[in-house]
């Protein structure tokens, strides 16, 4: 019984150490946010390929904060569902991307490259251009 308890405590300790290592990996290799004022651009590409551009100065550290600021100050809106890894954008400027109907979804691009982070975790950097693009799975 004693031996079994010891094993469990060792497992708890190992789990805690792994959590700390994960945190360290994130601090070292994770996306880094910049503090202070930045000038950024957000482009929205709709289902017809038309681009609406928003340029703004912001103190936001992450893309979602920048989007929230634009939603307050500009003619920009978005909606989303909270997913396992951040918000899953379902509509931008009233245009709904319904994956179940036609395989449509909203993609995030950062300076022309396909984004690796959700809007919550995408750091905002000075001079960056973010693009929210309406795409369908058939385009891939």
């Amino acid at each position: 019984m004693q031996k079994s308890n010891r094993k469990i405590w060792i497992a708890v300790a190992v789990l805690a150490v792994i959590a700390v290592i994960f945190g360290a990996v994130y601090m070292f290799a994770g996306p880094k946010a910049e503090k202070g004022s930045k000038n950024c651009t957000l482009e929205v590409v709709d289902d017809k390929g038309e681009v609406t551009t928003y340029e703004a100065s912001t103190d936001a550290e992450y893309l979602r904060e920048f989007m929230n600021e634009l939603a307050e100050s500009e003619d920009f809106s978005y909606e989303g569902e909270e997913g396992d890894y951040g918000v899953y954008i379902t509509s931008v400027n009233g245009l709904v991307a319904d994956y179940e109907t036609n395989g449509a979804y909203w993609s995030i691009y950062v300076n022309g490259e396909y984004g690796q982070n959700s809007a919550e975790l995408q750091p905002v950097a000075d001079g960056d251009t973010y693009r929210l693009a309406y795409e369908t799975s058939s385009e891939q």
């Binding site: 469990i8 708890v12 789990l15 959590a19 994960f22 994130y26 997913g83 890894y85 982070n117």
Partner: protein, 174 residues
């Protein structure tokens, strides 16, 4: 002395109902906590169901994935779900095979599963975009995995005894 989860599984017609109830409660638990990112009861319930119903929990895990597909449509996470949830059942049964019924032990299983969830789900990205894409996808989600691991650990620790007791009562009464 607690019973050991049987390694042999006998299937009866009433198991259809039992698996249906397991699947429904998994889906209800997922939906109820959907507003809280990465705080979920599916991990905890699958651990409990594996301990109470043995290998039948595999069927409930796959049925849960089927229901999720019906609700949310097909996407890459379906591939993830098809191996992560059965893996959890497998690990739970493997731990139990050593005669373990400690809430702490299953809290560790749940916590480890939550911490490793992102790493497990990043595997398909190895084939889609290579190791760099897989690693960057995993690293970007680490904060969510930490929340997932800690919340799983706490939920399992707090709910294990009372909920397992109730589920065991239901199982023996059925």
């Amino acid at each position: 002395m607690r019973r050991q989860v049987s390694s042999k599984t006998s299937w009866k017609a009433r198991d259809i109902v039992v698996i249906g109830v397991m699947t429904a409660t998994l889906e209800a638990a997922k939906t109820a906590l959907a507003v809280l990112p990465n705080i979920e009861l599916v991990t905890f319930l699958l651990i409990i169901y594996a301990l109470a119903f043995g290998k039948k929990a595999y069927v409930a895990a796959f049925a849960f994935v089927g229901v999720e597909c019906l609700v949310w449509g097909m996407n890459i996470w379906v591939i993830n779900y098809l191996y992560v949830w059965p893996l959890l059942v497998f690990v739970t049964l493997a731990v139990n095979r050593r005669g373990c019924w400690s809430a702490w032990a299953y809290a560790v299983v749940g916590g480890a599963f939550g911490l490793g969830f992102g790493a497990l789900c990043s595997i398909p990205y190895l084939f889609i975009g290579g190791p760099v894409m897989m690693a960057s996808w995993w690293v970007a989600g680490i904060p969510f995995d930490l929340i997932h691991g800690v919340s799983n650990f706490v939920l399992c620790l707090v709910l294990f005894k009372p909920v397992l007791g109730i589920v065991e009562k239901c199982r023996s009464a059925s």
